[in-house]
């Protein structure tokens, strides 16, 4: 029976498609965000999981290998696959150094199955952290900043 099952497995193997797609050169201004917190709502609404309020968590997630995205001014999210020649999109230093920063990115946009993917060839401008929302939301999550009195 196991031989039959293995044979069936071999028969269905190798049937997946694979395709590289055409890209489009774009220039996008937006914030480098942690996509899991943004998409899942695990820490709250989208306005709370961006900017200075969420900066420490953005560092944790970026270092933890969660994909980073570029949240454009119009609300579109671009999943960043490579940035300034660094293809280490799972915890790499380049993306970690840009956590929560607003940047103007020049690169190639790819689209597939409803998601946008971006290869950032050049950070034209690093505007730094411009979304100063920590006064509005406090640290997100609440334990991001350790209590200095303890």
């Amino acid at each position: 029976m196991r031989i039959i099952a293995m044979s069936l497995c071999l028969l269905v193997s190798g049937t997946f498609g694979a395709q590289a797609s055409e890209g489009e050169r774009v220039q996008i201004k937006g914030e480098i965000i942690d996509t899991w917190c943004y998409y899942s709502g695990v820490m709250g609404g989208p306005d709370a999981v961006t900017g200075s309020a969420h900066h420490t968590c953005a560092l944790w997630c970026s270092a933890g290998g969660i994909p980073v995205g570029l949240l454009a001014e119009d609300g579109t999210v671009y999943m960043v696959l490579k940035i300034k020649g660094d293809a280490n999109s799972a915890g790499g230093d380049t993306q970690l150094n840009l956590a929560s920063h607003e940047i103007t990115a020049d690169g190639i946009l790819y689209k597939r199955d409803g998601l946008n993917y971006l290869v950032v060839e050049k950070v034209v401008t690093d505007h730094g952290i411009t979304n100063l929302n920590h006064e509005d939301y406090g640290p997100i999550p609440g334990f991001a900043i350790p209590d200095p009195t303890k």
């Binding site: 998409y39 696959l81 799972a90 199955d113």
Partner: protein, 188 residues
């Protein structure tokens, strides 16, 4: 014209209407937009898949990995592993690079935010294997890679790169000195 519309609708329907919850044993995270999803897929290097810029062994754990779903050829993007520890899915999927697998976890869908085919992977197995691997190895792999950071508390409080960032730029990123009044007031 009516016939053409019906044909187009039939062609489009598998991707639009498919339900992947059958047989799923995924645990809920009580997230808005989550749905259990168990499906067969091939583990791919997303950068390679999209652009043709490929690396050996899918980058060996450095690149984001995708799940090319067998049923509809959709590229699913696993953003998260099964641990509540700010950890992604690449470490869990990297050993399966290029392999055909079955995964179980949660799909996240939120049209308002553009979340589509986003996935939290909870377990994975080779397509022809009976045994599942839990997608919770990230913290152990981090500990192996960071022996100097051994100590109490969660990894993200001990990670050298994160500590260096916070020392240089503060918890809010505006600078340690600049954020002092905010922190003082916040904890008063």
């Amino acid at each position: 014209m009516k016939r053409l519309i019906m044909i187009l609708a039939a062609l489009a329907s598998p991707a639009m209407a498919q339900d992947f919850s059958d047989g799923s044993e995924a645990k809920t995270w009580n997230l808005y937009g989550e749905s259990p999803a168990r499906f067969e897929a091939k583990v791919v290097d997303i950068l390679c898949e999209m652009t043709g810029d490929c690396a050996a062994e899918c980058g060996g754990g450095t690149r984001q990995l995708g799940l090319l779903r067998r049923a509809d050829d959709v590229l699913v993007f696993p953003n998260k592993n099964a641990q509540a520890a700010f950890s992604g899915a690449v470490v869990e999927l990297a050993p399966f690079c290029g392999k055909e697998v079955e995964v179980d976890g949660l799909l996240i869908t939120d049209p308002d935010l553009g979340a589509k085919h986003i996935y939290l992977v909870q377990k994975i197995r080779n397509l022809c294997d009976a045994e599942w691997t839990a997608a919770n190895r990230w913290t152990k792999e981090w500990a192996k890679a960071n022996p100097e950071a051994k100590g109490k508390g969660p990894w993200f409080r001990r990670d050298p790169r994160i500590k260096a960032q916070i020392a240089a730029h503060g918890y809010t990123g505006i600078g340690p000195e600049a954020e002092k009044p905010f922190i003082k007031e916040w904890f008063e």
